[in-house]
Every structure is written in structure tokens, then in C-alpha cells.
């Protein structure tokens, strides 16, 4: 089972115009930097991107927005991005905003083979408009469908040649969920180790969910809000 590919370009070679892709990360934390750069270089267009955020102007998914590669964003929070705002207001970019927990759980549903889930988030608000509402135990829930993405692109801390993944701290976020949800899942990792080198009790994403894996390079890991205290 050879899941290891040479790098980001090989990993994304069959992502094409119009593909639906998921991208892991929360803000700029845990985003697949290498694959995003490769997608920018490849120049594929009309992408539908499912990602909690849309990066910043000059980093992350923001780079793809600058190249106008994105037709539609499905996200929960898209602030911090002037180019995004411009494209949204001009109508160039379609945006579907959904609650963060709904985003996460629709990934989980896809990864666990559940066609739809119920969540109270957004019930009674404009997010619920047109959606099926169902009352359980006196509370309204929305029926939300599992995502159906062609590709999931995630970034892990460590991975092995069998595709098993381990994430670090809050860089975990949506990554293991999207890893489960893609028809084809691509993982870039900071450190690629041989199968057997990771402790099988402490793997976050089993390799069965991962189709391609490579060790990324030159991680910038930009910090969005550097907050510190004095010593």
C-alpha cells in the first residue's frame, strides 16, 4: 500500500477546475500550507472550498482568493480578509456561512457514513431558512446533511507511511474530521515516519481514511493574533 507521494504537486495532481475541496485548519493554525501553495501554482479555478476560515489576505486560502480560484466558500467565519470582502460584495464570490459546530459535525457525518445529523444550532434563525426542522424533547433541531467533498486536504504534525496521523495541540481542529470526510484525502505532515513508529494507542486519524501523504517543507506557521504577557 503505497500512500506516500513525492510532494504537494503530486498530491494534488488530479484536483481540477470545479473540484469541491475541504481544507483543514482554524484561522491560520494547522492549515495545509504546502498544498495551498501548490494549488495556487497549479492555478485550478472554480473551486468550492469548505474551510472554517478563508485565511488572511496574503496567507492561507487568501492566496487562492487573490488568484480568483475560488467560486464558493463554505465557512463559519471569514473576517480578516479584505480581498475576500471585495469579491463577496462584488458578487464574484459565493459564500455560505454555517455554524462552526455544524461545519464540524457535517464532516463527522461524512466520515462516519451518516447521511445527515440533527443540530439545534441556527434553529429559529436565518440559517434555518428552508431547512427541515424537527422537534425532539421540546427543542427544535435542524437536519443538516453530510458533506460530499471530492478532496480533503489536511495538515498533521506527524504521519506514517500507512497514512496514520497525529495532530499537535489546537492545530488538530477540523483536520481529523476533514481527513475522514474526503472521497480522496491528502495529508501533509511535518514529519513522516515509517509504519510502526507511531504508538497505535495515540493516533488521531487512522490511515484507512488517508489516501496520499507526504512530508511538507518550509512551514511558516504564521500567527494571526500574537498575544503575550510580560514576565
Amino acid at each position: 500500500m503505497n500512500k506516500v507521494v513525492s510532494g504537494a504537486e503530486a498530491a494534488i495532481h488530479d484536483i481540477s477546475d470545479g473540484s469541491v475541496i475541504m481544507l483543514g485548519g482554524f484561522g491560520l493554525c494547522g492549515i495545509p500550507e504546502n498544498c495551498i501553495n501548490a494549488l495556487v501554482k497549479k492555478g485550478v479555478k472554480n473551486l468550492t472550498c469548505i474551510s472554517n476560515n478563508a485565511g488572511v489576505d496574503d496567507f492561507g486560502i487568501g492566496l487562492m482568493l487573490q488568484q480568483k480560484q475560488v467560486k464558493k466558500m463554505i465557512s463559519s467565519y471569514v473576517g480578516e480578509n479584505a480581498e475576500f470582502e471585495r469579491q463577496l460584495l462584488s458578487g464574484e464570490l459565493e459564500v455560505e456561512l454555517i455554524p462552526q459546530g455544524t461545519l464540524a459535525t457535517r464532516c463527522l457525518a461524512a466520515g462516519y457514513g451518516m447521511p445527515a445529523i440533527f443540530t439545534p444550532a441556527g434553529a429559529g434563525t436565518e440559517v434555518g431558512t428552508g431547512k427541515e426542522v424537527r422537534n425532539f424533547n421540546g427543542k427544535d433541531y435542524l437536519l443538516e446533511y453530510a458533506f460530499d467533498a471530492d478532496f480533503a486536504i489536511v495538515k498533521a504534525w506527524k504521519g506514517d507511511t500507512a497514512g496514520n496521523l497525529v495532530f499537535k495541540e489546537t492545530a488538530r481542529n477540523f483536520n481529523p474530521l476533514m481527513a475522514m470526510a474526503g472521497k480522496i484525502t491528502i495529508a501533509e505532515v511535518e514529519e513522516l515516519v515509517p509504519a510502526g513508529a507511531l504508538d497505535p494507542d495515540y493516533i488521531h486519524t487512522p490511515g484507512i481514511y488517508v489516501h496520499r501523504i507526504f512530508q511538507g517543507s518550509n512551514y511558516e506557521k504564521r500567527i494571526e493574533q500574537r498575544t503575550v504577557r510580560k514576565r
Binding site: P99, A121, E224
Partner: protein
């Protein structure tokens, strides 16, 4: 005198109880962490995937892989645990978080909250706010009583798109502490030196006043 943001946070901190798991939103709610009473065990949840959030890191010790839901660099406390976003919102949805504190643009007298969108202006998205307000057992809103034009933000009903329905339990504004009751906003305490009349004038929704209303003591 209207409360400062710090005083709003300090007053909200009095609602904490030992053993609480608490989710603090961005802005004033974040400041509540500074007023957790000494010796009280309160665990902070950050919905991007952490229980046991600690203070900001010392300069030079920032870790790009360790941020809170406001994307700020943070630290952890002993006993902390990381998890994915589905589990994070799973525990929120299951009512395991005891208290959620968040800001609001408007609150209605039946507890509806609006805090995610101003039509016609930029829409940044709801992030985790809709999940939190739909599921939290106890929601306290930290907010200014009026907008910059002096108009009440405590309304008969929200004018902005709402984030959640009938969910807010308590408001701590710069002028007052109020419970949301089936009858409307019930005035519990007032900011030092702020009169009941002023609060009445600045509360557009139904206001219930019973007996003497004490000042908040600091």
C-alpha cells in the same frame, strides 16, 4: 458611573462556581478569566479544541499551534486536553459546558440574541456563536446597555438577524444586571450611582422592577 469593561467582567466572575466549565467569548467575556476567585477551580473551554486554557504566553514563548477561538496565542494549565472540533461542539451541544459568556449587539426581552450579522455591512460569519447559544445551559451576555447613538440594545424584539432564540439567562451591562424572565428583563442590580430611572429610560424592552434595587458593590 457606568461600569468599565473590567468591572462588567468582574461582576460576571461572581457567577462562577467551583468546578464550572466555562466558555468565554471574544471581547469583554475574555476579561472574565482575570477575575476568577483565588482557589476556585474553573476550567476554560476554547471551542477550537481545548479544555484548560491558561493565560497568554510569556513573550518569546508563543506557539503557533496553540491558539484560542479568538486566534490569540495562549497557554494551557495542568489537566488540559486537546480535541477536534466535532468533539468540542459535541460537548457544547450535550450541555457539558456550565456557563457561556458572550457579547451581543441586541438582546430581546424573551432572551433572543443577535450578535453575528449587520445586513448591508460586512458579514464575518457566526463562527461558533450559534452552536453555543443553541446549547448552553446558562448564557450570560456582557454588553453595553446602549449603542453609540444612545439607543437601547435591550429590546422588545431584536431588529438584527438573531443568533439564537430564547437562550440568554442574564445580562451584565455597563448600567445593570438583569435576568431574563418570562415577564421580561428583571432588574437585579444597578451600576454604582446609576439610577433606576436611567436604566428604565435606556431599556426599550419590558423592564421589571421589584422593591429596592441594590447597587453593585466592588
Amino acid at each position: 458611573m457606568a461600569l468599565t469593561k473590567e468591572q462588567i467582567a468582574e461582576r460576571i466572575a461572581r457567577e462562577l462556581r467551583d468546578g464550572y466549565y466555562v466558555n468565554l467569548g471574544i471581547g469583554i467575556p475574555t476579561l472574565v478569566a482575570n477575575y476568577i476567585p483565588e482557589g476556585m477551580d474553573v476550567v476554560l473551554q476554547s471551542e477550537n479544541g481545548l479544555l484548560g486554557m491558561g493565560p497568554f504566553p510569556f513573550e518569546g514563548e508563543e506557539d503557533p499551534d496553540l491558539i484560542n477561538a479568538g486566534k490569540q496565542t495562549i497557554t494551557t494549565v495542568p489537566g488540559s486536553v486537546f480535541f477536534d472540533s466535532a468533539m468540542s461542539f459535541g460537548m457544547i451541544r450535550a450541555g457539558k459546558v456550565d456557563l457561556t459568556v458572550l457579547g451581543a449587539m441586541e438582546v430581546s426581552e424573551n432572551g433572543d440574541i443577535a450578535n453575528w450579522k449587520i445586513p448591508g455591512k460586512m458579514v464575518k460569519g457566526m463562527g461558533g456563536a450559534m452552536d453555543l447559544v443553541a446549547s448552553a445551559k446558562n448564557i450570560i451576555v456582557a454588553m453595553m446597555h446602549t449603542n453609540p447613538k444612545g439607543e437601547s440594545k435591550l429590546l422588545p424584539q431584536c431588529t438584527l438577524p438573531i443568533t439564537g432564540v430564547r437562550c440568554v439567562k442574564k445580562i451584565v451591562s455597563d448600567l445593570a444586571v438583569l435576568d431574563i424572565t418570562p415577564q421580561g428583563f428583571k432588574l437585579l442590580e444597578r451600576a454604582p450611582g446609576v439610577s433606576v430611572d436611567e436604566i428604565r429610560a435606556k431599556t426599550a424592552g419590558k423592564l421589571i422592577i421589584e422593591g429596592d434595587v441594590p447597587e453593585i458593590a466592588f
